[in-house]
């Protein structure tokens, strides 16, 4: 059975009916055919002559060869095996070996709605691939306006769910990152609460804010986002706290892509100052902190979830997992339900 039709598989590779960030925009260069695995799908990414990015299944509709080994023809791809040409809509526009054959004009290549935003390529994977996608809604720090940002892109050898757990676990800041430039202060004991919002929930300390990694927001809609804030020391100069918007996408069961938009609400000379300091030294410090997370996540046992003993600091994980599991079960049921048969007329 297709793992993407099972509750377990959907959880491991990523639920459907979502936008996922696939890769940084600059990974898809004009004229190139880019082959990547994401969210349980084998994908081909390319740009047409106008620069618009397209995301399709990397599988020739003729016999299944990799279209990514084919020829970029500006507005279409020609398979290198027998020359079949497919356009950005997934329609076979030419079968050179057998002109006029029935395959011509048919829309047979799976094509996923794609968009670029904040320096990344996003694609929509729907339960029903013929249905239009939801609007891609992004958290305020990467929506534009008064925020300045840098995208940090990583690939880790761990299930994306471990990264999601890590992001929804603010308490690890005071321990794992205790010697960092940003998370050295604050209490090592905390009581958390969950505050439900229109689009998800906020998980926050009840007795400390703005000192360490004190709150995190899970936004769940057309895409899943985690937003969190970490105070900057005075040395970072004027401006708001350091804010991270994170998006994750499975590459395989045990590998995922992580997008960490590092943001600050800051303008004018203060903005230039932060951007200079970020490039000159802060990025390396932030990266060292992220490496601590990577080392922890990559070394976790494969059956970590099976033998946990959770406590109060973990209630956001429990809530998030419950939400994803329930939705995965619903989607699996929709994906496997038998096609409704026409009613049998009663004589």
């Amino acid at each position: 059975m297709n793992p993407l039709h099972t509750t377990e598989g959907l959880l491991r590779f990523g639920l459907r009916d979502r936008w996922y960030p696939l890769c940084p925009s600059e990974h898809v260069r004009t004229g190139e055919l880019v082959r990547i695995d994401r969210a349980g799908e084998q994908l081909l990414l390319w740009r047409d002559a106008a620069g618009t990015v397209h995301v399709q299944e990397d599988r020739c509709p003729h016999r299944g060869a990799r279209l990514s080994q084919g020829v970029h023809m500006g507005d279409r791809i020609a398979c290198n095996y027998h020359g079949v040409q497919v356009d950005a809509e997934g329609t076979v526009v030419s079968v050179p070996g057998s002109p006029g054959c029935a395959l011509e004009g048919r829309r047979v290549l799976r094509t996923f709605p794609a968009q670029e935003h904040a320096g990344a390529v996003f694609a929509w994977f729907g339960v029903d691939e013929s249905a239009p996608p939801a609007t891609l809604e992004v958290p305020a720090p990467i929506a534009g306006g008064a925020w300045s940002r840098f995208l940090c892109y990583v690939e880790w050898n761990a299930p994306y769910l471990y990264s999601l757990d890590n992001l929804l676990d603010p308490m690890h800041g005071a321990f794992l990152h205790r010697n960092s430039h940003t998370m050295f202060a604050g209490k090592r004991e905390a009581v958390f609460q969950i505050r439900v919002t229109d689009t998800g929930f906020v998980f926050e300390k009840t007795d400390q804010r703005g000192v360490n990694f004190d709150w995190v927001e899970f936004t769940h809609g057309g895409a899943d986002w985690v937003t969190l804030e970490i105070p900057y020391p005075d040395t970072a100069g004027p401006g708001g706290p350091f804010t991270i918007v994170a998006g994750l996408c499975a590459i395989s069961e045990n590998r995922h892509a992580g997008f960490f938009w590092r943001c600050r609400e800051v303008s004018g000379w203060e903005r230039d100052s932060w951007r200079f300091l970020y490039r000159n030294r802060l990025e390396a410090r932030h990266y060292a902190v992220l490496e601590q997370d990577r080392e922890m996540a990559e070394a976790m046992p494969a059956d970590a979830w099976d033998r946990e003993n959770l406590y109060q600091h973990d209630i956001a994980l429990v809530r998030m997992r419950r939400l994803l599991k329930a939705e995965a079960a619903k989607q699996a049921a929709r994906l496997t339900e038998p096609a409704t048969a026409a009613p049998v007329p009663v004589a």
Partner: protein, 63 residues
């Protein structure tokens, strides 16, 4: 690779900010009390300091 001037400029900025000086006149005055000078060797002014930051901050966000 950042130049030694950029690193020294960054060191001084961090030190000044670290003392809690976050206002433009204060930062410019503190920078003038340090050893770091623009390429021409003259004192910093608010316009020359903000222009230098704009130059060093590099390319802007792309959406």
């Amino acid at each position: 690779m950042p130049s030694s001037y950029e690193n020294a400029f960054g060191d001084e900025l961090e030190a000044i900010y670290g003392r809690g000086v976050h206002d433009l006149p204060g930062v410019v005055a503190a920078l003038n009390a340090s050893g770091v000078r623009p390429a021409g060797g003259e004192d910093w002014t608010e316009p020359s300091f903000t222009a230098e930051l704009a130059r060093l901050s590099g390319t802007e966000n792309h959406s």
